[in-house]
Symmetry: none
Subunit: 78 residues, 4 copies
DNA sequence: GATGCGCTTTAAATGC
DNA sequence: GCATTTAAAGCGCATC
């Protein structure tokens, strides 16, 4: 691969990443706006964040438990 | 607003946020995959991150300078 | 504060940290030995790590839930 | 070994590990506190970390060199 | 050499 | 609004 092509390819990768990161930032802004809207409607943002956090942990914990079940199954040759 | 409605509305807000956070996570994964792909092609991921970071800083600096220029223009009544 | 004293004080801080880090490393070794011992007794180390991880998460989740309960109490003025 | 005994033994192993990990966490906290204290006294924490890292590497290098020396001694029948 | 894990660093969020 | 505290990302190590 010539250096010219490598350079071009690198630019491509970086461009794609920057594009996705821009979208990611936009989503972060959107989320913030929803929190603000909820706050304006009288909800407690801090509590909302806690709720979402706990729900996320629950999901993660469930996944963990399934993973350990898989381990047991493997250990038992099932 | 009745408590029932508030509850429903809260669920809506949380649902919207969770949806957007899921999209955000997906994007983070996509970005990681691009880095992996670039790595597999022989590029140095760490350097790529540096490049992207610097470009982002440059962009921020440019925006700041334009903001200052605007202030000057306003101060001079242009 | 004279530079001599500062130097001496810095040496003290670093010495204390190195002492604690040595203890920390010793503990890490001890933990590893227990895993090895368990392995030698026929237990599956990978599963053990999962169990410990989940127990730790459970503890963290419990603490989170108490935190959110506190938030609710505060929000309700209790 | 009956399953009951195995279960009990597993619980023992896990309990011992959790105990040691708790101590390890405590040490990590203690270390952090010393860094904070040093920071409050005007020292640069980042530099301190560098110093400690380098000293650790030096120690490792020294140990390695002594190991090589031992090999030479043995090879020479000293 | 790839994967996971802990530590470091940076970004976000809370409280004053 | 700023400064502390907390969460997320990145990085290096150590292991397999």
């Amino acid at each position: 691969m010539s250096e010219v092509i490598a350079k071009e390819q690198l630019a491509q990768f970086i461009s794609r990443i920057e594009r996705l990161e821009a979208e990611k930032s936009d989503l972060a802004e959107d989320i913030k706006e929803i929190y603000d809207e909820a706050k304006g409607t009288g909800f407690d943002v801090k509590i909302m964040r806690q709720i979402i956090k706990i729900k996320r942990q629950d999901k993660a914990k469930l996944a963990e438990q399934e993973a350990i079940l898989d381990l047991y199954r493997q250990a038992l040759g099932l």
